[in-house]
Homo-oligomer: 458 residues x 2
């Protein structure tokens, strides 16, 4: 369960916060707001004079995280035997599904049996694109290709991952939104939509440490997913488990019911495609990505895959196996990532709590894993806040990016990616974010008060 | 210019061949054929008793060739700086086109400027698939997506590469054949088809050391390609220059006019996509592949590519650059490949010449590069020959594979891939191929004679 903070003036993790005098902006008089506005402008000017150049826009690992995997460059050398367990020379052509030991490693990571996945190249996004593309040109397991249908729709859980939405958008698929809640997508809406509309062919999900909210689907949510009764027989859940082992804490971890097993138990074995990669485990540009699904789905996919390629990079698969040795090694490795990321997440949350707590002008999530914090301004302020940050040298993910078409109907959500900047820079950037949020909120309240004032006179 | 051998009983490269008594099968009496048939059966039995298990089916590099690139495993290690020329950390996300130094290396290899190509993953086949797939779903440079057209056709030069044909076949595209000649495809037919039929959207070409004939397109052929006036504005030449630097000889090399430059000169700058990879330079499973095209085409392609992926494996790009250093290093490396491959090609040709020369029952090509020899039996014998080889333990590419749908109308073409087996095994396999060809031909002649005999009596 995620905690959403910021409205209570006291943070569970930082109990010393909140002793200062806090007055919600909504309760301030026009005079107080005007004084505040002046004060914030001076502070903002100071920030601008620092000529910052910081980037919190993308969930990129930082240099220290990348350094953790440098040993991967040493596990294979000119003297290495590049033969895998079953005797295949990994240097040569062939092997569509992946080498056995890599299937086992990624199977363990994805919590599926080694024969229920296919290892691809370096990008799980590319795998997802390929699934939509194949469904569009050839259909899903023998059903009508989507290119022949008048209308195809996908459900996008919002706020969500922009690159997901862009894939379906690119194929002319209508993106329908369903709101994210603390326990996952609003399942009443999902069930209603999926069971009633046969043009709905899929749903984009980041079920664990979701992008950007950071929370995970509850057991009930996963069970309801597995029990969907889609009107379209070729409806698939696009289960992008990007952050499956990406915990920030060693014991306080979210746990997700394994979707493929749950679908099987629910009598819906072919309902989901599951995606993952080592992009944020080893190297983002040079990891290995995989798709897990039922035997029927994999058979359908292989029919296309064997036309598309002779096989993916097996040497890189072998490199990953020799480096991590197994899932335990991978989990230990992720603890090192966590040690780097945890202070960054906590710094953002602490600064937000210190500077914004109790003001009633923002809230934010407090994830236990993943790469993002979801930050909400007052309605209509997100674009303004992002613009203010940019003008003072801090690049944030564009406001609205977490919604299909880049259009947040409330203009309130901002995705914070704390991973990449060094800790001190991150703190500076977060100060600027808070300052910009306060300035935008202050101006909003002032404007409202001024617009409201004449009405009182009448 | 390729030489087609086998019908003259004397081989330019092996002048000592031909001193034995040679009698074309067509000139043999029934008695002579019957005696020969008996003799061949005994020889075949002997071969079968050797319980061979050899494979000449695919153009796979052999172990010695793979060993040539083992140094690639040493150029990057745990201490390496994985930053590329422009300061990008190759370990992280990003860079859609490829890192600058890899663009230069592959640009040099493909004979195009560094800004006229995009580096993808490990498979040029995958790039070709993606071009067809994108054209199908989104159209070429703004033209109607192929999925909305009633009919789409592609020209397949035959004999040709089965995996090409399977891509278009998979998309329901009608594969039309045009015969390969010693100077390239029959350009009269190509011009006639392309200029008259707007449903023809592309042509599959392996212009240099063609798969499987081993010959290269003449200057005139390339010029005529560049000057095509397609009825379809979205017609593209799929120029798979898979063997661009894959020579067998150091001086006696085929040279190909660079197609993109020639298209530009001819006023058709957007007419061709050019593909290549290092699959048969470094490691087949772990090379880097690229697409070169005009600025307009690349812009069109990037619009899709940025939806499909965040970027390809830059560490592997860097590994290739650090290993080969530049195009000269790559060319030197290819000489080592040639030293391994040349004796194999020559052994096949020599054995064919010794055993089949002058018999009038087969011919074969004598390429100066690439990975294949194209071998032709008498009409109607190829399947039989492949079957006989298989029954004695030698796997050849299935007869017909070099034609769309696996259907060779003459049932005469067999693709020989000499690269993979060790030299001695290759010789054994070639003996078996010759023996099987003789046996099939002998039986064919006997049957014809016997069928013809009663007619003479009438």
């Amino acid at each position: 369960m995620p905690r959403t903070c910021g409205s209570m003036g006291r943070h569970a993790r930082f109990p010393w916060i909140g002793v200062r005098m806090i007055k919600p902006y909504a309760e301030m008089s026009v005079e107080e707001l005007e004084a505040l506005d002046k004060e914030l402008k001076v502070e903002y000017k100071k920030m601008q004079n620092r000529a910052l150049e910081l980037n919190m826009s993308r969930g990129k690992p930082c240099v220290e995280q990348l350094d953790l995997s440098m040993g991967m460059m040493d596990v294979l050398n000119g003297e290495s035997d590049l033969t895998c367990e079953d005797g295949t020379d990994c240097r040569n052509y062939g092997v569509l599904d992946g080498i056995p030991e890599a299937l086992e490693l990624l199977g363990d990571m994805m919590e599926v049996a080694y024969d229920h996945l296919i290892i691809y190249g370096n990008s799980s996004l590319n795998i997802m694109y390929d699934q939509v593309s194949r469904s569009f040109t050839h259909g899903v397991m023998g059903f009508e290709p989507w290119c022949r249908l008048d209308k195809v729709k996908f459900i996008c859980v919002v706020p969500g991952y922009d690159r997901h939405f862009k894939i379906t958008e690119y194929f002319g698929i209508e993106n329908i939104t369903v709101p994210m809640t603390p326990t996952g997508p609003d399942m009443d809406q999902v069930e209603e939509l999926v069971s009633s509309d046969p043009s709905i062919k899929g749903i984009w999900c980041v079920p664990k440490y979701s992008n950007p909210t950071g929370n995970s689907y509850s057991d009930e949510t996963v069970r309801r997913f597995a029990r969907l009764r889609p009107a379209a027989p070729d409806f698939r859940i696009y289960w992008d488990n990007a952050y499956t082992i990406h915990h920030l804490y060693d014991l306080d971890q979210d746990h997700l019911i394994e979707i493929l097993a749950e679908c099987k138990r629910a009598g819906n074995p072919d309902l989901a495609y599951k995606f993952a990669s080592t992009s944020k485990v080893s190297f983002p540009g040079s990891g290995i990505a995989a798709l897990a699904a039922s035997g029927n789905n994999l058979e359908d996919i292989r029919r296309q895959l064997q036309i598309q390629t002779i096989g993916h990079d097996k040497v890189n698969q072998l490199r990953h196996v020799r480096f991590f040795k197994g899932i335990h090694g991978m989990v230990e490795h992720m603890r090192k990532h966590a040690d780097i990321l945890r202070p960054k997440f906590e710094a953002v949350e602490q600064i937000c709590e210190e500077e914004l707590g109790g003001l009633g002008i923002a809230d934010w999530t407090s994830p236990k894993g993943g790469y993002f914090i979801s930050f909400n301004t007052l309605d209509g302020c997100a674009k303004d806040v992002v613009r203010r940050c940019a003008k003072a040298g801090v690049t944030l993910t564009p406001a609205g990016a977490t919604y299909p078409g880049g259009k947040d109907p409330h203009d309130s959500n901002i995705r914070i990616a704390p991973s990449f900047p060094p800790l001190e820079d991150l703190k500076t950037a977060t100060h600027l974010l808070c300052l910009s949020t306060k300035a935008a909120a202050c101006e909003k309240f002032l404007e409202e008060r001024r617009n409201a004032a004449p009405l009182e006179v009448q």
